[in-house]
Symmetry: C2
Subunit: 385 residues, 2 copies
């Protein structure tokens, strides 16, 4: 076994999930994540945890949903004349699992990132709705989501398998203690600040010059640990929930929205809302997002990527938005942890992150003071003020 697989397991169990002796831990292992699964349960055994292992197979999920669709077509179990299956909205076993669990470790890494592509969206939605209670019980555990590097994920990233493995371990095997301390500085700046301004002036791209209020909002130091209210490994971003956005923003990192590749998004904000937009490719998909509901035209998140172990974009939001020298904004839903007690923040059915490269000819100001210029923070060597 590659020693890095063991190190990944140890980071997951100790730094991220903070597993203690006697904890009841549920581990979900995707089809091709067996190797990391072995290392994780070995570490859990050593820590004195009790383990239950689920098979997190997208191919089995697809088969179940397709079977349910076939059963709903008349002569099956359902037979209400409607082609959308009826799912049990109180699944007793899964609810019992997450109510009894202290921690939930999800190890992604399937054989095909599009394994469920032919399941009708009505079926997915009906299933997701029936699982609301299970999802809530799961979110009440110390949950952490990570991925084992697989050939299918390498392919999605457009990389060779060996190269992709290096990429993942560079992102995951950080000095998290040190990064958390650095991110705490960024959080301090945002928590104390009232207004953020982001400016980029790059050749051949529209300028970004956008301001937003963050007064009264609390930033999350997303340091890949439940101790930081952070549930992804890798992580490495600081984010907050802005409002009253004004100006223009250009996002030069490609993204995928509903299986459509979207490039070079340009948004114009007035009074907190998107009043004009464009995209070089995939503009219809972008329009679909913005038209979802009123909240989809307002920002729900401003995030600063600070994980310098991530050195390229791989078409995976788990990695892309954490990359050092990037800033992202999401239209749609805001995270509750960023909001003052009792305030609901921006609400929407969507949350779509858009990323901009800030490594050159850019600056971010908080209350008029430059915090990051050309990717360098003000506490770093080489900062030019």
């Amino acid at each position: 076994m590659d020693e890095r697989v063991r190190e990944h397991a140890e980071v997951l169990v100790d730094w991220s999930a903070r597993v203690e002796p006697g904890d009841d831990v549920v581990v979900s292992v995707a089809e091709d994540a067996h190797e990391l699964g072995v290392a994780v349960v070995e570490a859990l055994g050593e820590r004195g945890a009790t383990v239950t292992t689920l098979y997190g197979s997208d191919e089995l999920s697809r088969a179940y949903l397709k079977g349910a669709e076939a059963g709903a077509d008349g002569d099956g179990a359902d037979g209400d004349g409607d082609a959308v299956p009826d799912f049990d909205d109180d699944p007793a076993v899964d609810r019992a699992i997450f109510e009894a669990a202290d921690a939930y470790l999800r190890i992604g890494g399937g054989r095909n990132t599009t394994a469920t592509a032919d399941v009708a969206s009505e079926t997915r939605q009906a299933y997701a709705k029936a699982r609301t209670g299970v999802r809530e019980a799961r979110m009440d555990t110390d949950w952490v989501s990570t991925v084992h590097p697989t050939r299918s994920l390498a392919q999605q990233a457009g990389m060779a398998y060996e190269e992709y493995r290096d990429f993942v371990y560079d992102a995951v095997l950080r000095d998290w203690e040190a990064l958390a301390a650095e991110m705490a500085r960024m959080k301090g700046v945002l928590d104390a600040g009232e207004e953020v301004r982001l400016v980029t002036e790059r050749d051949g791209a529209p300028d970004t010059d956008v301001t937003m209020s963050i007064a009264g909002r609390t930033a999350v130091n997303s340091a890949a640990s439940v101790a930081y209210d952070s549930h992804n490994l890798p992580s490495g971003e600081v984010f907050t929930a802005p409002f009253d956005t004004a100006g223009e923003a250009f996002f030069d990192v490609p993204m995928t929205i509903d299986a459509t590749r979207v490039r070079d998004v340009h948004l114009v904000f007035e009074g907190g809302e998107v009043v004009d937009f464009a995209a070089e490719t995939g503009e219809d998909a972008l329009a679909g997002v913005l038209d979802t509901d009123p909240g989809a035209r307002r920002l729900g998140e401003l995030g600063i990527g600070m994980n310098r172990g991530i050195d390229r974009f791989t078409d995976s939001i788990l990695f892309d938005e954490k990359m050092g020298d990037t800033v992202h904004m999401a239209v749609g839903r805001a995270y509750g942890a960023c909001l003052p007690e009792g305030e609901s923040g921006n609400d929407s059915a969507v949350h779509v992150d858009m990323i901009t490269d800030v490594s050159e000819r850019s600056r971010m100001e908080v209350d008029g003071e430059v915090v990051q210029r050309n990717g360098t923070f003000r506490w770093e060597e080489g900062f030019e003020g």
Copy 2:
């Protein structure tokens, strides 16, 4: 997908487990049993069941137990100075799973039948003991155990992979309704009978001539369905719990006891107990079984194999003991279902099946009347009386 995989799934879900719409079904999928897992959850979706999928990986089990051993060695979670790990004897998640489940489908088929060979037997025993409550909750569900044909099982059987697949499907894809009806005849004979005598006279092998009482005992028609109190797929045997055995029995089918190959076992019974024994190879392993406890020297089971889809021995008791033209006897524990209400029957920590080929120069009598001669039952064509 091989159409037989789908048929296997349908037999498992419909004939064996009798799944109904709304049932909560837990499916455990071994490492290389993915394909059958897909077919099973698709069938369950179609029937309107709710599904939870566990990852039944022997390699993960080994890793967990080895991790626990490492943790018990001093500085880990355990630290009681004892090298045997302490396991939680009330594992909350697993107990919750089986208490909430209606049915449990175990799909075996790993990558290595000896995957846990280097785990200390004290560790296994400690784990098994801690899981007593979970096991009991699991046995209270409509549970069924089957296997997907894998390369590892083909290797154990000494067969090519394609050949082994044919073997498994011939055993599993029976006309179970018809076989259950035929086995009901055998059960009727045993339930009405008081004494069984088995005689074999074969060249170059010691003769078998053994009698046992079955008075008051109830035979199980093991027709691979929870409706028949039968929990293995394939099955295809009728078995009861004999006592007062006398005479000699020779078992010409090889078996594996604790990883030792044992061949040509010869047992001599007096007053219900084994008073002398021999084996051509593996005699020490046989002695170890017989010396376990007093009940290990008495028979706990007499079984008649009636599945003619099984045409050879594959060193797997799931298949071997069900083979047509065989009879098996087990030393050790008797099954409760065979015993009169309130009677405990033969008790032991072991239950070891030994098989004899009855296809030629043999006869089985019940109360002096021949029921099977040279493998042919008295209700079959060609029976010679």
